[in-house]
Amino acid sequence: MERHFDLELEELKHTILTMSGMVEEAINKAVTSLEKLSPEIANEVIQADTRIDRLENEIDEKTIAFIVRNQPVAGDLRLIVMATKIGTDLERMADLAVDIAERALELTGQPLIKPLIDIPKLAHLAQKMTHESIESFITLDGELARAVRTQDDEADSLRDLVTRELTEIISRDCSVAARAIPLILVARHLERICDHATNIAEAVVYVAEAKLIKHGEED
């Protein structure tokens, strides 16, 4: 039976989808701005962030109104509670995309300290985890969500690798610090994006299966 609030739930999901599309684009562009050291693309990422912030507020307003009007329970309740959390994660991912774009601006006009190898790998992983976490939300696919979660260790390793390598370079010649530190930060920003994708995936498992698996509770 169609319920009076099914339309509201669909609208809420739609807002999350719109927001996640924008966040994916922000991450992709931020990575491109870094690869091409393009200030134009970096500035586009920074400018788009306000719209994403507004969508986070919109999700919060919609979920609060929904709770007030409908007192959701069971699957509806799980979806509504996790929708606000997913909104928060998406907004933070967009902020991290802005951070990466800002690092690209800092690096623009200077030669790269070394060819980028592991950062593109980490960037690719962040994009993949983001995309799959959102896909798992759309389809409420607990299995796909769990698969996203398992990739987080790889993200941590890649960040550690980049940090170690660049720290060594700085320790040999500290005059390159201004070009090396932004890259260390980029690795951290990308790894944080993977953490938020993991949060989204864990939220999806809760919506789909009513199991709280955060902080290794299921392991």
């Binding site: 039976m1 319920r3 007192q71 959701p72 329970v73 069971a74 699957g75 309740l77 009513a210």
Partner: protein, 257 residues
């Protein structure tokens, strides 16, 4: 006498079936109610929840053509054993109905009615019991100057709480409530719910309600009935956060109908 293994349970039903003539209204209901907890029974109209509630004090015996099978064990005693003492059973179990049903007597005589017919206390103690019972149901300040008043003239919410006072006076163990708030406005409902929360410290409470928000607000455990089956029984948090049965999920999220 039948001993039950788990003495933490105040009420236990085993393989309970009930027929109205050929129609089976309850099917193999097995469940246990813990002492000093509020258990809510929910489900659509005609699902068997009120019928089940009336099994717990053998009220269905009064309906012609009713046949009951299985066991209802209250404090290690099967109340359906032939020869079970029904008067003593009903003394231990109080019941509140949808419409308040004060007797056509004064407030005071309503409260002392059970004491009188069961010969539970000396007349000298009645004043004290009346005051205690009215205090425990938050009526004392409202009614202490009107104890001689005809109970039927009280507002509905006071009538309903007076029915509880009448029960409390006889010091039962279990209180059954069959949609006790359906005739009450939201403020009176809130008051009765708050009262139930305090009463559960002393009594084991089972409530049938159509109001799922009420079940969520007041109950510790919750059972969902559908077409005579107890589909799901668990803690209220579990039932309303992650129901195990899709029929429960459909009912509580409004997909049935």
């Amino acid at each position: 006498m039948i001993s039950i293994l788990n003495m933490d349970y105040k009420i236990e039903t085993q393989n309970l079936n009930l027929y109205y003539g050929k129609f089976q209204a309850l099917r193999n209901v097995d469940c246990s109610f813990e002492a000093n907890r509020i258990t809510a029974l929910i489900g659509p109209s005609g699902c068997g929840k009120s019928t089940f509630l009336r099994c717990l004090n053998r009220m269905n015996d009064l309906i012609p053509g009713v046949r009951t099978e299985g066991r209802v064990i209250i404090n290690d005693q099967d109340i359906y054993t032939p020869g079970a003492d029904l008067i003593s059973l009903r003394k231990r179990i109080g019941m509140v109905f949808q419409r308040p049903n004060p007797f056509p007597l004064s407030v005071r005589d309503n409260v002392t009615y059970g004491l009188k017919i069961h010969n539970l206390a000396d007349r000298g103690e009645w004043d004290q019991i009346v005051e205690e019972s009215l205090r425990n149901t938050w009526l004392w300040h409202e009614l202490k100057d009107g104890l001689r008043k005809d109970a039927r003239l009280l507002p509905l919410d006071q009538q309903q709480r007076l029915c509880l006072a009448r029960i409390v006076a006889t010091k039962p163990e279990i209180i059954l409530l069959d949609e006790p708030c359906s005739a009450l406005d939201p403020i009176a409902t809130e008051k009765l719910e708050e009262l139930m929360r305090t009463l559960k410290l002393t009594y084991t409470i089972v409530i049938v309600t159509h109001n799922m928000d009420q079940a969520v607000r007041i109950s510790d455990s919750c059972g969902f009935f559908l077409l005579g089956d107890l589909v799901e029984f668990g803690t209220t948090e579990q039932v309303f956060e992650k129901p195990a049965d899709t029929r429960t999920e459909k009912y509580i999220t409004g997909h049935f109908g």
